[in-house]
Amino acid sequence: MTLLVLLRPLLGALAGLVFGIGLVVSGMSDPAKVLNFLDVLGAWDPSLAFVMGGAAATTFVGYRLAWRRARPLAMPAFDVPRTQAIDAPLLSGAALFGMGWGIGGFCPGPAWTALPLMAPGTLAFLPAMLLGLWLGGRAKGLPAFHAAPSRP
């Protein structure tokens, strides 16, 4: 495990690169394609169903192979969410996220891959998203949401 531990940043960058290339190749990095996917009654482009299907099926199989080991290759232990509650923070957060996704056509991954292309809309979206990620984490701690501590 020692060598892989030393290589952690490199392996992390490689995983991010593969993820990002997947976003670009699939078309998910293009907000126009995302918005057309969501526009079921209009200019519907069903491509993103193939992205989600391909990704979820690959992950379904790969996770089961990865979990055959007692621990991950480059960290001491698996850390998988145990929360199962379908609660107010989950549903209200998902609703707010859906609205933002429907307005801008960006979810968090494509917002990052869009940054080097420097479109003005991206430069407005990304800092606001990062502010929102911080605010949303704070909001989850409010008494209004009796949310258990959770990991994304």
Binding site: L11, G12, A15, G16, V18, F19, G20, I21, G22, V24, V25, S26, G27, D30, K33, L38, D39, G42, A43, D45, S47, G54, A55, A56, T59, F60, G62, Y63, L65, R69, P72, V80, T83, Q84, L90, G93, A94, L96, F97, W101, G102, I103, G104, G105, P108, G109, A111, W112, P116, L117, A119, P120, A124, A128, M129, G132, L133, G136, G137, P152
Partner: protein, 148 residues
């Protein structure tokens, strides 16, 4: 809303890209034992949520760097620029960004965390999140494009 930009149906490229996204999610689980949710990875990378020491922080910041390098790598490999149409309505995009950030932090996941990794884990909680954000996203586009 910007004018509707027509896009081509690309089942094969989209499936191939989806498989790459899945491979990355599997790498993150096999190597680091973590969920490859970009909202959560970003929060960890930027110090917004505690992580399990420097080792758990380093791969996250490197992962984000990999995401940033991806369009440049694709352009270098294919010679073609990455096709993208981003709305030029800057206040609208800022509002969208804020909603996406708050929503994914509050809801503990985004398209990748709940959509890809959560569904692959057969998590009912993630399924509820996915159905909710899909419904709200489609309803938002419906209102912006066909009602207003």
């Amino acid at each position: 809303m910007p004018p509707v930009v027509p896009t081509e149906f690309t089942p094969f490229a989209s499936l191939a890209g989806g498989v790459l996204i899945g491979l990355s999610a599997v790498m993150v689980m096999a190597l680091f034992g973590r969920i490859a949710g970009i909202a959560g990875v970003s929060r960890g990378a930027l110090g917004m949520t505690p992580v399990d020491g420097a080792g758990d922080w380093g791969w996250r910041i490197a992962f984000v760097a990999g995401l940033l390098a991806a369009p440049l790598a694709v352009t270098a490999a294919t010679g073609a620029s990455v096709q993208q149409t981003v709305s030029g309505n800057l206040p609208g995009m800022a509002v969208a960004g804020l909603l996406v950030g708050v929503g994914t932090a509050l809801g503990s996941g985004c398209t990748s965390g709940h959509g890809v990794c959560g569904l692959a884990r057969l998590s009912v909680r993630s399924l509820a999140a996915v159905l909710t954000f899909m419904a709200f996203a489609a309803a938002t586009v419906l209102v912006l494009r066909h009602v207003l």
